[in-house]
């Protein structure tokens, strides 16, 4: 069995842990991006939608608002994670769905 390193690689167990999470995320993001790129290529080759159409697409109306809401929630959830550590029932109701 391959065992963990004999001591933290960075000198700190906490730092090792954070870097592992970060690097796994970086890797998963790449794997997903690779897949999306392949999807775009195949969709274009099969005449379904071109990459240019995706690049030039300008969200409008209800769809644009939906994207705005999702994006704001995404940013709040990730950038706000270190700060949103205290809550009450009322604050959660006021904030709504993260």
């Amino acid at each position: 069995m391959t065992k963990p390193p004999p001591r933290p690689v960075t000198g700190s167990e906490d730092m090792d842990a954070v870097m592992r999470i970060n690097t796994e995320l970086m890797s998963e993001l790449w794997i997903l991006r690779d897949r999306v790129t392949i999807l775009e290529k195949l969709l274009e080759e099969k005449g379904v939608v071109t990459r240019e159409a995706i690049n030039d697409y300008a969200p409008e109306g209800e769809f644009a608002e939906q994207l705005d809401d999702e994006r704001d929630r995404f940013v709040r959830r990730i950038a706000g994670a270190p700060w949103e550590v205290e809550f009450t029932v009322e604050s959660l109701i006021e904030r709504g769905q993260r």
Binding site: P5, R7, T10, I31, D34
Partner: protein, 362 residues
């Protein structure tokens, strides 16, 4: 060529991007931090003056404490460890997704081209070898039945081919390196070339490229690596005779080969075993025969920061004998064994491949 699934391929390609980036850009930053540190500068001055009498482990320890002050060093070393682990964490499941196809590569019919494979399970497995997860590979060299396809279609193809690990620099072509190294043998022709600890066929195929008329013999302790080598040799149409042997006891007759090659072998054994292997090489070489040893450079030959980087592999990359090997001047061991016309030199910018050459007196 066996193609992996999207996830398998993309995951390994990610490692193949991360490692060279970390080993070049981030490592350069770490080295700059080392050189800017007053203690680092003192170590460099000592190195430029020709070293000191301080024991290697103490000198490396001083260098390590300087290096570990650098954030860039900590990041770069983290990525080295991460990639070394993830090579197998990703490649084994990726090959398992294609198990039937990979098995055909291993066990499918191969054309005979005059080589041979002699396995012998009476060859005792040495204590130093037992239970080591070499390079963090779970189960060691014989731990996974599809290790050959795993390296060929996965780790080798997407990660190792980019360099940036252990002593291999970013951009180094490790196949071409074997051709360049074996070309350093001093003669134009050899009748019989013997590789100790051959692993697979890669170095012997490079020997064939340089010495197409030579009879080629390779030995190793690992049945899996020998079988893989036999398959690779047949796929290449090159006759190589593979034998399961301990390099200290090849069972070849005295004075029966013209050249002995040891490629990236020494650091996989304790120094005491390496000494015995050199003595065995002397025995089986004909008078006038040549020995070439390629391995990571000795600590004495490299920048103090590079010495810290090499030493790190011992504890963190499944290389238990790396540091004691780098603390050894193999060319001195060769002279003690009776070799003459000995020389040692580096081919790469950081000293790897590091070559030791010697000839058995005629």
């Amino acid at each position: 060529m066996l193609n992996l699934s999207q996830r398998g391929r993309a995951g390994l390609q990610f490692l193949g991007s991360l490692q060279p980036y970390a080993s070049s850009r981030v490592r350069q930053l770490a080295k700059a931090d080392f050189e800017a540190d007053p203690e680092g500068a003192a170590l460099m001055e000592e190195y430029e003056r020709g070293g000191s009498n301080e024991p290697w482990d103490e000198r490396i320890s001083r260098g390590r404490s300087v290096a570990e002050r650098s954030v860039a060093y900590k990041h770069e070393r983290f990525y080295q460890r991460y990639v070394a682990e993830e090579n197998f964490v990703r490649a084994i499941p990726a090959i398992e997704e294609k198990r039937e196809e990979a098995k055909k590569l291993v066990s499918g019919p191969k054309e005979d081209c005059g080589g041979s494979l002699e396995l012998d399970d009476s060859v005792p497995i040495p204590e130093y070898y037992e239970g080591v997860e070499w390079h963090l590979e779970p189960g060691g060299w014989d731990g996974y039945d599809l290790a050959g396809p795993m390296f060929m279609a996965g780790i080798g193809r997407y990660v190792f081919s980019k360099g940036g690990y252990a002593a291999v620099e970013v951009g180094d072509n490790i196949r071409n390196q074997r051709v360049d190294v074996t070309k350093e043998l001093p003669k134009d022709h050899y009748d019989r070339i013997y590789e100790m600890g051959c692993g697979g066929a890669t170095t012997l195929l490079a020997c064939h490229q340089n010495y197409p008329k030579a009879e080629l013999i390779g030995s190793d302790l690992s049945p899996a690596l020998l079988k893989g080598g036999h398959d690779a040799a047949r796929a290449a149409g090159v006759a190589i005779h593979f034998k399961q042997r301990d390099c200290r006891d090849t069972r070849e007759p005295d004075e029966s080969v013209d050249a002995v090659v040891m490629y990236a072998l020494m650091h996989e054994m304790p120094v005491s075993v390496g000494v015995e292997a050199i003595e065995e090489a002397f025995r089986i070489l004909k008078p006038g025969g040549d020995l070439i040893i390629n391995d990571p450079p000795p600590f004495a030959a490299v920048h103090p920061f590079q010495a810290v980087v090499l030493d790190w592999d011992t504890d963190f990359r499944g290389e238990p004998f790396f540091s004691e090997t780098c603390a050894t001047e193999w060319v001195d061991v060769m002279r003690d064994a009776g070799f003459v016309d000995t020389k040692a030199f580096g081919l790469g910018s950081q000293g790897y491949p590091w070559i030791n050459l010697g000839t058995k007196p005629a």
